[in-house]
Symmetry: C2
Subunit: 173 residues, 2 copies
């Protein structure tokens, strides 16, 4: 299912095709899943379709780590197969709210963990503005990743840099 | 089409239903549009389906204006009909990349304009960090709006406040 989604995209994957690939009748699939969104959503949830994880080493440089995270995430989105998977995920989420929340919880979890670790280090080093909530920062990164996947347009190094500076220093003088 | 989308959501709207409503044969619809995403996308583009615009008055208080924008946007997303429209928009964008880019350009335009005006005022008043790019700030807001529409979960006043503070002051000490 991962191969079909990555190669053809969500719109081109059909229940017929999935039934053929699994060598079962179409009705068998409909007995267990009410829709294409549901069957693909379950597959994404069960980890048959990995590869959305952005894993970046944590160093002692907060700015460099944020830059590395965004750069890696945007490079990942620029890969055609990843884009199709991410877009399929977005279609499932927009189509089935309950599945969407479970998928989001699963996919956002490693980002939340990474941000949590990174900001705890920064706080220990006295580099964090008091009151900064790691969950808010993580959601900002997830929102950027989701929007990049949705649009599928490349993001320049200059744009990454401007985003890093905005995350670090905000817009106020 | 707006009524059907808002009331039933993207998944429940069918080409059959649209043909019936327009009193034409299904084939007539397929002659002009290759898919449901395409027909709904065109309707969204042609403005048959408005109501996604967040219009907030600009005052002389940058922080209050950002808070008002986010509060209005999240309140808008909490409305069930708006959520269905926004989700339909996301499905169309994730399904048809070209339509998606045109829809995004159209829907992001008023946000970019608002942010452009607001930040120009802040810059005149010496309230802006040098080098802040209004386009980056606008895209951050669009990403937050898109992610909120995708998830459809309510956002608390505390979360709005934390987001305003992060946008204004960043995370660095």
């Amino acid at each position: 299912m991962r191969r079909a989604l990555a190669a053809e995209g969500y719109a081109a994957v059909t229940i017929e095709g999935l039934a053929q690939e699994a060598e079962v009748a179409k009705q068998t699939i409909y007995r267990w899943w009410p829709s294409k969104a549901a069957i693909l959503g379950e597959a994404l949830l069960e980890g048959e379709i990995p590869g959305m994880d952005v894993s970046v080493a944590i160093t002692d440089d907060l700015e460099a780590d944020l830059r590395a995270w965004l750069t890696t995430m945007y490079a990942h989105q620029a890969d055609a197969a990843s884009t199709e998977l991410a877009r399929a995920l977005i279609v499932v989420t927009a189509t089935d709210a309950d599945l969407g929340l479970r998928l989001n919880a699963r996919l956002a979890a490693p980002i939340r963990e990474w941000v949590g670790h990174r900001l705890a280090l920064a706080e220990e080093a006295g580099q964090l503005r008091p009151g900064v909530d790691a969950a808010v920062v993580a959601d900002q990164l997830v929102a950027l990743a989701s929007y990049a996947a949705l649009l599928g347009t490349p993001v320049s190094a200059e744009r990454v840099e401007a985003t890093v500076q905005m995350l670090l220093h905000g817009i106020a003088a």
